[in-house]
Each structure stands twice: as C-alpha cells, then as structure tokens.
C-alpha cells in the first residue's frame, strides 16, 4: 500500500494556540436544556475570553456537527455570529461522522495551504439530547397532501388516509448511529470485531473500568479544559465519569446489540453525550506575529477508508498513514489518544497494530508495533467522558496536548474510528 512520502515542500504549519470546552454531560442530563448552538457558542465564547484576542483576527470558523439542528443550518455560522465573531468573516460546518471535530482542524490546515486564511476557530459541537424524532416517509407524504387540500372536504379526505402507524416517530439518534451501507448499527460493528479478534467480555469490561478510573485520577487536568456552564447550578465537570466503576458493576449489564451471544454493553461502549469544543489555530507565522504562545503543532494527519461493517478498525490504516507522513515510529509517541467508541473496538485496533495476522486482516503489510498500554488514554476516554460525536475529535487534540505539557512529553498521536467505514489520525508535537 502506497502513502505519500513526507512532504519536504514549504507548506504552512498549523499550531494550536488555545482550547476551551464545555463540560461533557450524558444526554438527557445537565446540559440537555442547551441545544448544539448554545453549547458551541459557549465554547467559542470561552475561547475568546480566555485568549482575549480580537475576534476580527479570525479568518474563518469551521465546526464539526453530526446532528445539525434543522433550525440552525450551517451551525458554525450561527455560532460564530452569536459568539461575537465578525459578520464579515465566513464560517462552515463539516461532517466526517465521529471524526468531525478533527476534520475541522485538518480542513483549517488545508485552507492555510491554499492561502485561504491564517487564523481559524475550529472544533465541534453536539447535542445528542436534542436529536429530533422524524415522521416516516409515507407520513410526510400524507401531511403534504393534507396541507395542499383547498377545502374542507379535501382536508377531510386527506385526513382519513392517516393510519395509527404514521404517528410512530422514527428516532433520529438511532438512524444516525446506523450505517446504511452495511445495515449494521455501530454497536453491531463492535460485536463483529469482538468475535473476529477474540475480544472477550471480561477484556472489554476491564478496559471500560480502566477508562473510568483513569478519568477519575485525571480529574484535575480534565477540569482545566472546561469552561463551566453557569445556570441554576454551576456545571464544571464531566458527569459521565464513575469513580466507583468495578468489574462487578460492569458485569451485571446485559449486552445491548446482540442480546443472545453478544458482549458489547452500555458500560463498555462510549456514552451518548452533549458537549462542544473550540480551538484557536493559526499558521506558525501568524501566531508568532501576534505574539501568541502555542500549545502544539499539527505535524501530520490522514484519513483512510475501510469496511463499513468493521468501521472500528479505521484507526489502523489511518495511524499507519499519519505516522508515515510524520516519519515517526509507533514508539516515538509519548501520548496516545484512541477514541473509545467501544472497548472492543479499541482493543481490536491494538491487536491489529501488534499482531501480524490481525494486521494483515486490517490491511497493513506489516504490524506497526506493540502499543504501551500506559501511554494510551491516560486520562480516560469516551467510555467515561462521553462521545458528543461532532466534538470528540477536537477534544482529543486538547487532551493530548494538555497531557504533553503536564508530563513534559514531546509527541502525541490521536486517532478515531468513523462510522461508515473510515479512520482518521493525527500526529501532534508539543511547543
């Protein structure tokens, strides 16, 4: 498999100057009353407050959002205007499913290369609590016919066509988490990986507990990322973390996606969560010109495709490509953030990176190496913190850089699997 060689041409380097995020909150709880626009506005506003920069300096706003609210089309533009960014600067919303937050950052880099801007506000926002319910297609057609009726008798006739089944809502969230090409939902793809790579229930639960305990220990670091939401109560921490997580508690849960023979449960999957993240990124030159002290540099990134039924393996080839572009080896990284869509999925990825047979199945010519478990998700991951799908990619960047700074690390590698059969990865350097 060919990848492009590391590019030696003089292209702009993207540096991450600052970051801010909302607390991550389980859907239907603390942040359920705020929609994706409010969450995104909060994060961007906190970013501008923390940095004190002149909003006029921002060339464009790019935000990821998977479940865009219908009343806020191009949510990035709505958020940008409401957060006080200038009317005269453009904004766009991006969608690469679970990696949308990272896509926003890499797209900013691509625009920098194209001379389309030097300073960007990027990130992502998601309110999974607010995902709409839909009417079925036949119901929509009947409603349309009803609205077209001119007179009473016409309306009466149109009304008589409705059946009870037409009023049963289709749950948008469920639709969103199902891949149409393979007809499997995300959890089902995790089950595929669990059985094909021999990831047992116990292994998954252990990994899930690890996520919660690491998050609990790293509480202080995580809370520094957060700009508290002030309402009746002050919401200043992620509320999905369970400090008392144990194998016993996790063991009690029933498998969610395959009730008969499955091993993937709600406890060892990522949580459905509301949250938003905003980052200030700039070319290295622009950051220097404005006297900003950046947190880190984006060294390389890659997006790759894979079998939609095994979307969880996406990170394997994406990591290979990103590492190749940066010229790093797997060992060179001090910090790894691999998004915990499912414990089974992360464990399968680790196996594919290390074991030759699995590596070949995942599309690598040769394994990349053994990942030191201590370096992976040291602050916990989406299993404990939650996975607001449009925002997570950006949070991984924020958390990775914070870890490097806290522990004097130099290099970080982040990666996400993407529903629909993709993977995305990036290499970051501390500054």
């Amino acid at each position: 498999m060919r990848h492009s060689a590391p590019n030696t041409m003089k292209i702009p380097s993207l540096v991450i100057v600052a970051a801010a995020r909302t607390p991550f909150s389980r859907a239907g709880t603390d942040l359920a009353h705020l929609d994706a626009v409010e969450l995104g506005r909060h994060a961007v506003s906190a970013l501008l407050t923390r940095t004190g920069i002149d909003p006029m300096l921002v060339d464009e706003t790019i935000l990821g959002c998977v479940g865009q609210p219908p009343e806020a089309m191009n949510i990035a533009r709505v958020i940008a205007l409401r957060a006080g960014l200038p009317e005269s600067k453009p904004a766009m919303t991006v969608h690469r499913n679970c990696a949308s937050g990272l896509e926003a950052i890499t797209l900013a880099h691509a625009k920098m290369c194209a001379g389309q801007g030097e300073v960007f506000v990027v990130g992502g926002t998601e309110s999974m609590s607010s995902m709409p319910f839909y009417f079925s297609r036949p119901a929509v057609e009947k409603f349309t016919a009803l609205s077209r009726a001119r007179d009473f008798s016409g309306r009466a006739r149109a009304a008589l066509h409705f059946r009870l089944a037409d009023f049963a809502p289709v749950i948008g969230l469920k639709l969103g988490l199902t891949d149409p090409v393979s007809s499997l939902n995300m959890g089902q793809t995790a089950e595929v990986l669990a059985r094909e790579f021999g990831i047992t229930r116990e292994m998954q639960d252990a990994f899930a507990m690890r996520s919660h305990l690491r998050a609990t220990q790293a509480n202080h670091l995580l809370n520094q990322e957060i700009a508290p939401v002030l309402g009746h109560n002050v919401i200043a921490t992620d509320n999905g973390i369970r400090p008392d997580s144990s194998l016993e508690k996790l063991g009690k849960l029933k498998p969610l996606f395959d009730t008969v023979t499955g091993s993937v449960t709600a406890g060892n999957s990522s949580q459905i969560t509301d949250g938003a993240v905003a980052l200030l990124v700039a070319t290295e030159e622009a950051a220097a010109a404005h006297n900003w002290k950046p947190l880190g540099r984006l060294v390389s990134y890659a997006a790759t495709g894979c079998d939609p039924a095994r979307m969880g393996l996406g990170p394997v080839r994406a990591l290979d490509a990103a590492l190749h572009r940066s010229g790093w080896k797997l060992d060179d990284a001090d910090v790894f953030e691999i998004n915990e869509a499912f414990a089974a999925q992360v464990l399968a990825v680790m196996k594919c990176l290390a074991d030759p047979a699995s590596a070949r199945r995942a599309g690598l010519e040769a394994p990349l190496g053994e990942l030191d478990p201590a370096k992976i998700n040291a602050c916990g991951g989406a299993i404990a913190l939650g996975h607001p799908v449009g925002a997570t990619g950006a949070r991984l960047v924020q958390t990775a850089l914070n870890q490097l700074h806290a522990n004097d690390g130099k290099r970080a590698v982040i990666s996400l699997c993407v529903g629909g059969g993709q993977g995305m990865a990036a290499c970051l350097e501390a500054l």
Partner: protein, 691 residues
C-alpha cells in the same frame, strides 16, 4: 340657559361666519385677524403635494431644525393648508407625514410655552384645538404616517385622523407625556383618545405619560399597522381606498365615571395629591369621554388654564430641559471615543445590573467575580431582568437573546488589553479595590479607562495606586441600575479631558443622565442624602414616631420616607457611609449611634426582615399611628432645610458644575420632588436660605 352654554353658542356663530366652516371652535379675536383678512401664509414648515390619485401628501419639515414642533407659526401654516385642501376638489384623501429622520412631531414647542405669559398659553391651546378639530372634520380619509418621535401634540394631531400607521424603527415612540410637565393633553388628546382605545387605557397612558414603541403602540390600539419605514407610503395609498374603521361604541366608556373614580383613587394613593396635573387629567378624561367633542375641549382648556397658574408646571418644564441638556451635551473639551468592549468586576446586584445595562445597549461585557457561584447568581439576575423586559414588550426575543449573548464571564484572570473600559463594582472595601486595581494595571492597556462604582471611597486614593492615573474615573450608578437614570461621573484634577468626554458620551449612550462631580466624600447625592437620613434618625431618637417622619416626607413629595429608605439601603451600608462622611466633615455631621445599635442587634433593614419597620415576604408591615399635621410640617421644614443647606454647601465648594446639576442629580438620584425643582430651586423659591 347658563353662561357657559351661552358663550358656546355665540362662539359657534362667530366661527361659522368667519371661517366659513361648520362647527369649528372659534379662535380668540386677535388670532383671527390674519385669517379673516386672508393674509396668505407662505409655506415654510410644510410641503403640500396633491398626486394624480387625489391624495394630499402633507410633509412637515421645519427648516433648520431636526425636529418638528407645534407653535403658533406652524399651527397657522397647517391651518392654512387645511383651508387650501378644503377648497380643492381634487383632493380625495390626506396623508400627514414628517420629513425628519427621527422625529414625526415632537409635540408642542415647550420652550416657547415656558416663556409665554399665561394668557398667551391659553391662546395657543385654543389655536391647536381649533386647527386639529378642523382636520378632524375634513370629509375624507385622513392618515397619519408616523415615523420617529410622536409625542404630546404630535400625537394629538394624529388622533384627529382616521388611520394611524407607524414605522417599526427604534426611533418611533408614541405617547402623551404632558402630565409629566405639569399640564395635560389639551389639543383634543384628553377627549379623543378614550374614544379610540377606551377610557381605561387612555387613563393609563395619560397619567403615566409613558412612551410606547411601535409594536407596543399597536398592541395598545394607538396605531393600526406597523411596517418598515419605506412601506408607509404604499400602505397609506392602500388604506385611502379602504373603509374607514368605524368607532364602535365601547361599553367601558359608558362606565367612565366608575373607572375614573377608581383611577383617581389609585392616583391619589400614588401621588398623595402632589401632582395636580395627574388628578386633573383623570377628571378631564373621564368627563370628556361622553358628549360632544367641544365640551371635552372646553374641559381641557379650563384645566390647562388652571394648571399653568401654579409654579409646579414651570419647575417640571425647567427640569425637563435640564435633563435634556445633560443627556445631549458633550463634555466641554476632549474627544469622546466609543466603547465597544468593557469589563465589569463583580457580579453582585450592582455588577450584574451594570453588565446588563451595558449589554442591552450593544456593548460586549466580560463580567468577573471570584467564584463561579457568584457569577451564576449574577447571570440569573441578568436573565431575570431580560425576561422582565421581554414580558413588558420593551425588547423583542431576539434583542433579549442578543443582550445575553454579549455577556461572557470568567472567575480566573484573563487578558483584558482590548477592553476600552473596566468598571469595578466589587465590595466597598478600599483594600479590596486597591488589590483589584493593582491587578488591572498589569492586565489592561495604558489607555483603558479604569472606573469605579464606589459610593463612598476616595477615587483619588485609588487612582494613586495605578500607572496613568489620568484614566481613572468614578462612574457611580444607582440601584436598581436599569431603572435609575442618574450616573455621577467623578473626576479628579488629573483626569484627562478625553477620558471625561468618553465617560459622558458613554453614559449618554446608555440612555442615562450624567452629572459630573468632583471627588469628595459622598460625592454629590450621598453627601446630601445621608445627613438628611441621619437627621431623620435623630428626630426619631428624640421621640417622633417612624411613621410620622416618613409620612411628613411623603407629603413633601419624596417617593419614600427616610426611615423606609434607610431600611431599603441597609442600615449597615448607611452607617458605613455616614461614618465616612462624619470623619470627613467632623464638625458638621450629627453623630448618632442609633444605627450602630440596630446593626449590632442584627436589624439591617429590609434584607433581614426588620429595620425601622418590620417586613414579611418583603412587604412592609405598616404600624398604625394617628397623623399629626402641624408636626409633619415642622418635620418637613427641618429635613427639607437640611437637604437644601447641604446642597448649597456643595454648590459653594464646587462639587458640581452649577446649581442646575445639583438639582437634577437630587431629583434623578433620590426622587426629590421634581415639581419643587430640586433642593436649590426650592431654597430659592421659598426663601428658607439666604441665597
């Protein structure tokens, strides 16, 4: 046949003869001269265009002025126009509009009225009534297309029209504020308004004098359509072809006497009879709603003739002009720079109030405090203010949302070098303020204006602690911020003219009235108020009941008695300010430790449920005592004298620029009875001090 009816009949006969028009009120003789002899009035203020559809477009555009007002000249010219229209058979409809950018018709020329002899005022009332009545009787559809300020006489002329349509622009404000100037709508407003919107709403509008924006005006029934300014003309064209809305007989108008009685009771409870213009207005509106328009007009004329005799109206008008001037006049030197980004330090009652006011006027505000909890409480306060304003239709949902969007918060230090202005509104502790200012000095840029909202501490001492003290200034807001119009701007000798000019302009853009004062203990308002409050406490200590003291001052015209005010301010706060003043002026201030005793006992006033009064659920539990009038008078004299004396001292010491500023500040900052003009005017009028 009584005298009144006799006169009416004779006058009717004269006018029919002279004006060749049925049933129009007669002008007094000397005014008629010009009209009888047919002197042509060249059009200076109006333009008349009659288009091919037969619509007469009257454009009111007074030369060399940004405003249109009704005075003798403009009324005569308008009358002439009406006469022209009456005799032109082409004309099928009439539209009245203004060419000014932000003003339809601002009302009567109050300045002219103030300087007129009373007899001339009555003539002017006659004239306006006659002309508007002539308009009302034109046999064709008449539309008033309102864009901009439409108040008093400006609105009264539209009541003589069949349609009133308004633009949705933010400068469009409609109302009848005459009672606030000691008179009442006397150009048909008191007669015609109730026939359009009902006597109850008419009484509310006229007695409060409130000005409504376009959507509130439509909601109240004052205008029928609200459209974008550019659409006023096409809408008018459409309406001339539609049927004129018929005035349905309002059931409530039949009950006018009862409604009027209830309204009068409310007014008397509110004003204690101290604002005769309001009680008179209720009387006139209630009686004028039934019967002929002419008898209503007669009631209006008689009422104005009576009200204009008293000094109250003159004082209220003077105050109105003083305030207008303070609201518009820029600082004498220096350049005012606009403020777009500001920080407010402190999310308490004052901090949150100030942050809300700034944000509602388009300024981006960073509100800071030491904990997230205090910030959350501050934000809740702001949310409450905003929902209140939305509910009362003062702002739209979008405006409310925009206001909230402009407010960001932080409890940790962040860069502030882009901020033009920082307003410190933290606790009244010099030590804390010095710390805050020291931190600000490193965080902001050299030309950021550092302002403090302190009510009693020395701005000058604070300025000494930071580099570039010429940018330090006091901006003293009053509680509650969104309602109190006064802001004391406290300057130091070293304050730069640019900073002062910016501060003045900033306060004006907030819609508040600035009064510039020198840094001295208590500044202006508290310096005058606190000794008065302390004297009231001393009177109480000497045996006079709390209720007697408060009642006496309520009868004097204060909105709240001094004992009750102390409870509201908080006895601890008042004691603190009193001590500061006592140490600054040791020879003068009556020392009383009654407050200290009460504070020590935990009675801090309303906030703790007991002060001089007891409170349950925030409501005062009134104790009954019998009132003793002669005693009230002596209390009034005593306390009012004290206020005036201290005000005079401030004048002599040059704390404020002039006597007008002192009067204005006391009226706006403490509710000192406006009809007395202010403490210095009161002293001058009554001679209680050798002025």
């Amino acid at each position: 046949m009584n005298l009144k009816q006799n006169i009416l009949i004779q006058l009717k006969a004269m006018k029919t003869l002279l004006l060749n028009c049925p049933a129009i009120i007669h002008d007094p003789p000397h005014v008629l001269e010009d009209i009888i002899h047919g002197h042509p009035v060249p059009l200076k203020h109006f333009r008349l265009d009659i288009d091919h559809d037969g619509i007469a477009w009257i454009n009111f555009d007074s030369p060399k002025s940004s405003a249109n007002v009704w005075n003798e000249e403009t009324l005569r010219e308008f009358n002439h126009l009406l006469e022209t229209i009456e005799h032109d058979t082409r004309v099928k409809a009439l539209v009245l509009r203004s060419a000014k950018e932000r003003i339809f018709i601002a009302g009567a020329d109050i300045k002219a009225i103030r300087s007129m002899q009373h007899v001339r005022v009555n003539d002017l009332i006659w004239l306006g009534q006659a002309v508007f009545d002539r308009l009302a009787r034109l046999p064709m559809p008449k539309i008033a297309a309102i864009h901009g300020a439409c108040m008093g006489g400006g609105f009264e002329v539209t009541l003589a029209c069949d349609w009133r349509i308004a633009s949705d622009h933010e400068s469009t404000k409609i109302g009848l504020p005459e009672t606030q100037l000691g008179i009442l709508p006397a150009w048909g407003g008191s007669t015609r308004l109730s026939r359009i919107i009902g006597v109850r709403k008419a009484l509310d509008l006229i007695t409060t004098g409130k000005l409504l924006n376009a959507s509130a005006a439509k909601h109240a029934g004052l205008v029928s359509h609200v459209v974008a300014m550019e659409n006023l003309e096409p809408l008018a064209r459409r309406l001339v072809r539609e049927k004129i809305p018929s005035r349905r007989l309002r059931l409530e108008n039949l009950l006018a006497p009862v409604i009027g009685c209830l309204a009068q009771r409310k007014v008397l409870a509110r004003t204690r009879g101290l604002y005769p213009s309001i009680t008179k207005a209720v009387e006139v509106v209630t009686r004028a709603v039934r019967g002929e328009i002419e008898s209503g007009l007669l009631l209006e004329r008689n009422a104005v003739a009576e009200l204009i005799q008293s000094r109250d109206s003159a004082r209220l008008i003077d105050l109105f002009f003083k305030r207008e001037e303070a609201n518009k006049r820029s600082a004498s030197s220096g350049t005012a720079l606009p403020i777009h980004d500001a920080t407010v330090i402190g999310a308490g009652v004052m901090g949150a109030g100030i942050a809300h006011t700034l944000a509602s006027r388009g300024i981006r505000v960073l509100m800071t405090d030491v904990t997230n909890d205090s910030l959350a409480r501050g934000l809740e306060r702001i949310h409450g203010l905003v929902s209140d304003a939305t509910r009362r239709r003062l702002v739209t949902q979008v405006q409310a949302r925009d206001t909230l969007d402009r407010i960001s918060t932080t409890h940790v230090p962040v860069p502030m070098n882009r901020h033009h202005l920082v307003i410190e509104a933290a606790t009244e502790s010099m030590e804390l303020k010095k710390k805050i200012f020291a931190d600000l000095a490193v965080r902001v840029s050299a030309d950021t204006i550092l302002a403090t909202n302190t009510s009693a501490l020395s701005v000058s001492d604070l300025a000494k602690t930071v580099p570039h003290p010429e940018r330090v200034i006091g901006l003293h807001f009053f509680n509650p911020v969104h309602r109190m119009p006064l802001v004391e701007i406290i300057t130091l000798p070293e304050t730069s003219p640019d900073v002062l000019a910016t501060a003045v302009s900033f306060v004006q853009k907030l819609g508040k009235t600035p009064v510039v004062v020198k840094d001295s203990p208590g500044f202006l308002v508290n310096r005058i108020l606190v000794p008065y409050l302390m004297e009231a406490v001393r009177l109480h200590e000497s045996g006079i009941s709390v209720k007697d003291i408060d009642d006496a001052m309520l009868e004097f015209g204060m909105p709240m008695g001094p004992m009750r005010l102390l409870d509201e301010i908080g006895l601890d706060v008042a004691a603190h300010v009193a001590k500061t003043l006592a140490s600054a002026f040791p020879d003068r201030f009556p020392h009383t430790d009654a407050l200290d005793k009460m504070v020590a006992a935990g009675h801090l006033g309303k906030k703790t449920g007991q002060g001089f009064y007891r409170y349950a659920n925030g409501q005062e539990i009134v104790s009954t005592t019998h009132t003793d009038l002669p005693r009230h008078e002596s209390i009034q004299t005593n306390l009012a004298l004290l206020i005036s004396q201290e005000a005079m001292r401030c004048l002599k010491e040059g704390i404020a620029r002039n006597a007008d500023d002192i009067d204005l500040a006391m009226v706006l900052g403490t509710g000192y009875p406006p009809f007395r003009g202010g403490p210095i005017t009161f002293a001058r009028d009554t001679g209680i001090i050798d002025y």
